[in-house]
Structure formats: structure tokens, C-alpha cells
Amino acid sequence: MQESTALDLLEPGEFLLIAGIILILAYLALEHKEIVYAAFFFGFMASFVAGIFLLLEAPFIAGMQIAVYTGGISALIIFAVLLLPRAQDSSLEEFSSPRKRQIGLIMATLVIILSGVLAFIFPWAESFDDTFIAISNDLNELALWLWADNGIYVQIIALIMITSLVGAIALLKMDKAEQLVSIRGEFGIEAEPELQELDVLEDEEPDTEEHEEVDD
């Protein structure tokens, strides 16, 4: 009896430890000056969230968390940092005025208080179906439920993945069109001399020929 109470205390202890680590890593991911470090802290935070899912006895969600968040989303964020030159300086994090900073702090506190109150008054124990708890704990049961009985969910996920691929291609095409505008558009390289005086145009001609030589 004595032993079981000690073990009962172990689980809240583990939860508090993991939750504390997650909070520290999340703060670092938001506030670290080097944005690449912040992205890595996000990855570490995501893998510790998997620890929470392990505490909840949900192995599939824990594995999904590691594979998709620590692996995929972290890589996506690091790539986003590489793609955007402006994201690499920390000027984005600065508030334009102290008043906006205060408003942001008040909003953040309100959200924290509201979610805390909701977490306390929400009837967690009664709100979950016992059969679903049994399913989420067992990989075999979950696989049967997802693949054999509710396969449509998996197909919907596949379609969402397709959407992301098509969206990425569309983004690339838009970017290409934007880059081509700078060549042939109204304000493109070729249009620049037209905005200037005719005298300047004469000087411009050898320049364009030089460009062509370089291109060839």
C-alpha cells in the first residue's frame, strides 16, 4: 500500500517535470535572438510534448508528434527561415510602441487565465467515451479502427497532403511569374530607360549589349 502511493506521486511529478521543460523550451523558441536556435528549440519542445502523450498512454500520437512535429514541421520552419531574408534579423520581434507591447501582454494574460479557468471547470473525466480511450491506448485497436473501419479519414488526410503539394506548386508558379515581371513588366529592367530622358538612353545602349554577352 505504501509503495503504491509513492508510485502514484511519480506520475504527477513526471507531468510537472515535462510541463516545466516544455514551458521553458517554448519560451526560448519564442524569445531567442537567433531565429535558427529558436527553430531548434521548437523541435526540442515538440519532442517533449510527445512525453506528455506517452504519459497519457497514447503511443500513436506520441510517435506522430515526433515524426511530424520534431521532424517535419521543424524542417519546414528552418526552411522558412532560410527562404525569408527578413526573418533572420530580430527586428520582427520588436513592438513598434510600448503601448502595443502592453496590449499584447494584457491579451496574452487574458488568454492564459481563460484557458486555465476552462481547464479547471471542464468535466474532463466524464467527457470521454471509454471505448475511445481503450482504442487510443492500443496500437492494434487503433490501426483496426482507423484503417479497417474508418478508412475515409486516412483518405481525407491523403487529400489534404495533396492540397499542400498543389499549393506549394502554385506558390512557386506565382513566384516565377513575379520574377518574370521584373524582366518584361512596366517597371522591369527593360522599362527603366523609358522613364528617363532620351540623353540617358544613348548611354544605356552599350550596357544592354554587355548584359547580353554575359547572358550568352
Binding site: E11, L83, L139, A158, I183
Partner: protein, 155 residues
């Protein structure tokens, strides 16, 4: 007895491996710090190595957007792998009653995703900015401008 079968407790070996990995990295960093010669650091020593050339500009530049698609592809394959892992970790293929529906579900799932990847592979050359195409557009725009100037009575 019930407590020792907790899923979290089963992952203690993973935790030990994680700690060992961190210790290994720290030991390697410390060892290299101890073993390396501590010479004077100057701007020549600390500058980025760019094949013997003097580095121009900051090392952090914005990469072309074309590389973005590879990350999206990675995430898609990642999610596909996670769902197939769920299937592989079950004994579902030995359950005769559900065997054939599962086979069809997996076939459709993989076909949709592989079809998406094939679509990306097909569209990728068209979506990226090609040097030849750029040159063609450039020449066309230049010829058009010269013609316009000719009509307008320029030189």
C-alpha cells in the same frame, strides 16, 4: 504491478539513450577544446571559409523558393510513413475479416500520395525559373522595346 506497466515507464531506455547522446556530444566538444591548439584568434582565423576567396556579404542569404517544395514533399512522406507505421505495428493483416478492405484502403492512400508526388515532379521544371526561358523573355522584351522606339522615331 499496474504502475510498472505504464507506457511512460517502458520508454525509460529511450530516455537513457537520449542522455547518453547528449553526454557524447558534450564529451566530444570538451575533448576537442582540450586537444586543439589555442592559437590567437583574429579576423582571418574566424572568417568563413569560401574556397580561399574573401567572403562577400553575410552568409545568411534568402534561398530561392524552389527549395521549399522539397520540404513540403518531406512532410507529406513523413505523414504517410506515420500512418503506415501504425498499420505495420498492428496484426491487422492476419485478421481475415478485415483483410481486403484494408488492402484497398492502403492502395488508395498510397496511390493518392504517390500521384501527388508525381504531379510535383512533373510540374517542378515548369515552376522553377529557367535560365533559357529568362533569356528568351529578356530578348523578346528588348526587341519589342527597340521596335517601339523605332516607330516612335527614336534611333
Amino acid at each position: 504491478m499496474m504502475q510498472s506497466e505504464r507506457l511512460f515507464a517502458q520508454f525509460i531506455p529511450v530516455l537513457i539513450w537520449a542522455i547518453l547522446a547528449i553526454v557524447l556530444v558534450v564529451v566530444m566538444l570538451l575533448a576537442s577544446w582540450v586537444l586543439r591548439p589555442h592559437v590567437l584568434q583574429n579576423s582571418e582565423k574566424t572568417s568563413t571559409y569560401e574556397c580561399g576567396e574573401e567572403p562577400v556579404g553575410p552568409a545568411r542569404i534568402s534561398y530561392p523558393y524552389n527549395y521549399f517544395i522539397y520540404t513540403v514533399l518531406f512532410v507529406v512522406v513523413d505523414v504517410m510513413g506515420a500512418f503506415l507505421w501504425l498499420l505495420s505495428s498492428s496484426n491487422i493483416l492476419w485478421v481475415d475479416a478485415t483483410k481486403y478492405t484494408v488492402v484497398w484502403q492502403v492502395a488508395v492512400f498510397i496511390l493518392i500520395i504517390v500521384g501527388g508526388i508525381a504531379f510535383v515532379m512533373k510540374m517542378l521544371p515548369q515552376a522553377a525559373l529557367d535560365g533559357k526561358e529568362t533569356l528568351e523573355v529578356y530578348r523578346k522584351a528588348k526587341a519589342q522595346r527597340e521596335q517601339e522606339q523605332h516607330v516612335a522615331g527614336g534611333h
